[in-house]
Amino acid sequence: MRRRPAPTKDDLALLDPDGAFRDRLLADRAAILPLADAGRIDELAPLVHRLAGAAGTFGYAGIGDAAIELDEALRDGRSGTAPLLAALRQALEAL
C-alpha cells in the first residue's frame, strides 16, 4: 500500500481550519480500536466506511487508504481482513 507523507500544518489549516475533523478522527479512533479488538465487525464496518470517504479528503491519506482497503474487503465479505485491520490500527495510532 502506498503511503503519503502526513499533512503539514499549512495543509490542515486550509482543509480543517478549526480542527473539527481531527477531533472527529480522534473520536473515531477511540470507537474503532475497541470494536476491532472485540472483533465486532458489524459495528466496525459503518465507521470504517465513513472514514474511507472522509479521511483522505482532509489530507489523512494513510488512514484513508487503510480504511478504503478494509472497507472494500468488508463489503466483499472477504476473509483474512486481519492485516488490513492492523494497517488501519497502525495508521490511526500514528495520528
Binding site: P7, R24, G53, A54, T57, G59, A61, E72
Partner: protein, 254 residues
Amino acid sequence: MRLDFSRADSATASEADRLAAASSQARILVVEDDANIATLLGRELRGLGHTVDTVSFAEEALLAARANDYALMIVDLGLPDGDGLDLVREMRRRSIEAPILMLTARRRVEDRVIGLTSGADDYPVKPFAVPEVRARVTALLRRPTRLRASRISIANMVVDCDALEAVVEGISLALPRKQFQLLELLARRKNHMTPKRMIEETLYGFDDEVCANSIEAQISKLRRALREAGAGAAIETRRGIGYRLIGAGAASAN
C-alpha cells in the same frame, strides 16, 4: 482521485476558479450527513460565490429540492434515512432536473455506472480532491438545464427528445426528421431567441446543400404543422436575428 498536497491542490479557491464561477453564481444544495465534509463543501462553494443550503437527510433534500430552484445538487450516496440513489431517482421522477453530483466512497466501475444511470450527472469518488470537485461543480453549472431535459413542455405540447416525437394533447405530430430537429432546438431554447446560424449548424452538416431560404422554409413548414395540430406554442420571428418558440398568444411572427 486522491489528495496531493501540492500548491495546485490548495484548498483555497484559486483566482481562476473564482473567475470561472463568477458569471454563474448559483444556489446549490448539499445533501451530506458527514458534518465535516458538508462544512468543507459549503466553505469551498461559498468561496466561489455560490449560495449553499446543506441538509443531512434524504427526506429534507426532497423537500428542499421541491421548494427551491437549485442550479446544482451534491448528494452523498449513503444517507441516514435512505440511499442517495433512491433519492436521485425520486428527484428525477418528480422532474427535478438540476444537475446532480453524487459523492460516494464506492469506487467500483459497477457502482459508478449505477450512480450515473440512476440520474446523477457526475460521480466523483471519495476521498475527493477539493480543487477537482470545485472544477466539476463549475463544469456542471455551465450546462444549461434545458440542454439535458429529455421532455420539454410548451403550452399543450410535449417534445420528447428520447422518443423523437412531439405530442399535442395526446396526439403525435408526424414531423419529418429535420422539422423535429428544428422543433427540439427551439424547444430547448424556449422563450429565448435562437440565431438563424445556430439553426443552420444544427440542421445541416458540412456536405449538405443549404439554399438561401432553407431555414425559412423549414420554419414555415413547422409553423404550419404546429398550427394544424392545435399546438399552443408558436414560433416568433425577429428579422435579422432568429426565431424563438413561445406559448401562443405572445407571438408576433412577421
